[in-house]
Symmetry: C2
Subunit: 138 residues, 2 copies
């Protein structure tokens, strides 16, 4: 939705350290946490560099970002459980008319990672409009 994509990449010390930090933990850290860790190794690394590299690594598919694809929240007037389709092109979010699968929660509970009160499921792809537009443009 917003990202820089230079043509060629360089493996700088900063980028390598950020990637190593991210690969050596499973806590799904925030940019700030990564920044603090990185400073233990490169004391004068800047937060801007951390963000820039996270963006590049994400664009390369080396890492994943856990959010809704945007910096702001969206609100849903329907508080009952249901699934969503999110368009990667225009950001449109649509309700999906498919039944909520309670059996997924059973399966998750069985893994012993804690209690499960509810779940959320989102499908990412192109909405019908953007699909059509892409076909026309080739």
């Amino acid at each position: 939705m917003y990202q820089n994509k230079p043509r060629m990449q360089r493996m700088t010390k900063q980028r390598r350290v950020i990637l190593e930090i991210l690969r050596s933990t499973d806590i799904h850290p925030t940019a700030d946490w990564i920044y603090a860790k990185a400073r233990e190794i490169i004391p004068d690394i800047s937060l801007g560099t951390v963000y820039r590299n996270l963006g590049i690594l994400k664009a390369q598919g080396e890492i994943a970002e856990l959010n809704y694809g945007s910096t702001y929240s969206r609100y849903d007037g329907n508080p009952h459980p249901h699934y969503h389709h999110v368009c990667l092109e225009c950001g449109r979010i649509a309700d999906l008319p498919m039944p909520v699968r309670q059996d997924l929660e059973e399966e998750a509970r069985a893994k012993g990672c804690g209690s499960v009160l509810y779940h959320r499921l989102e499908f990412y792809g192109l909405c019908p409009q953007c699909q059509r537009k892409r076909e026309k443009e080739g």
Copy 2:
């Protein structure tokens, strides 16, 4: 994770309008969009009021907020598809060792809401640590 929860609630004109706007659309709008719509009805409503009421309505379970429960992004060093468990108490995010269900994508595609390239599934509840803590505290 952060929210105001007054004991008693009043149904003000502002709150009613915000709720009506949210219930009368299916585009899953942002706070700003709701603010613009609300101003057509209550010209001097403020953005702060919109945010405050969205928070209250959410706490009451009248509406839902579509984000990760926090304002910042989290990063995952593992870019391969997998599911997460999010703790509602401490915010911890854990990887779930369960297989990715491609059949869910098939089902979603069949609904005709667009193409589906991948999906995301998160389970919300208490992590083992917070579960134990709650048991001890009664």
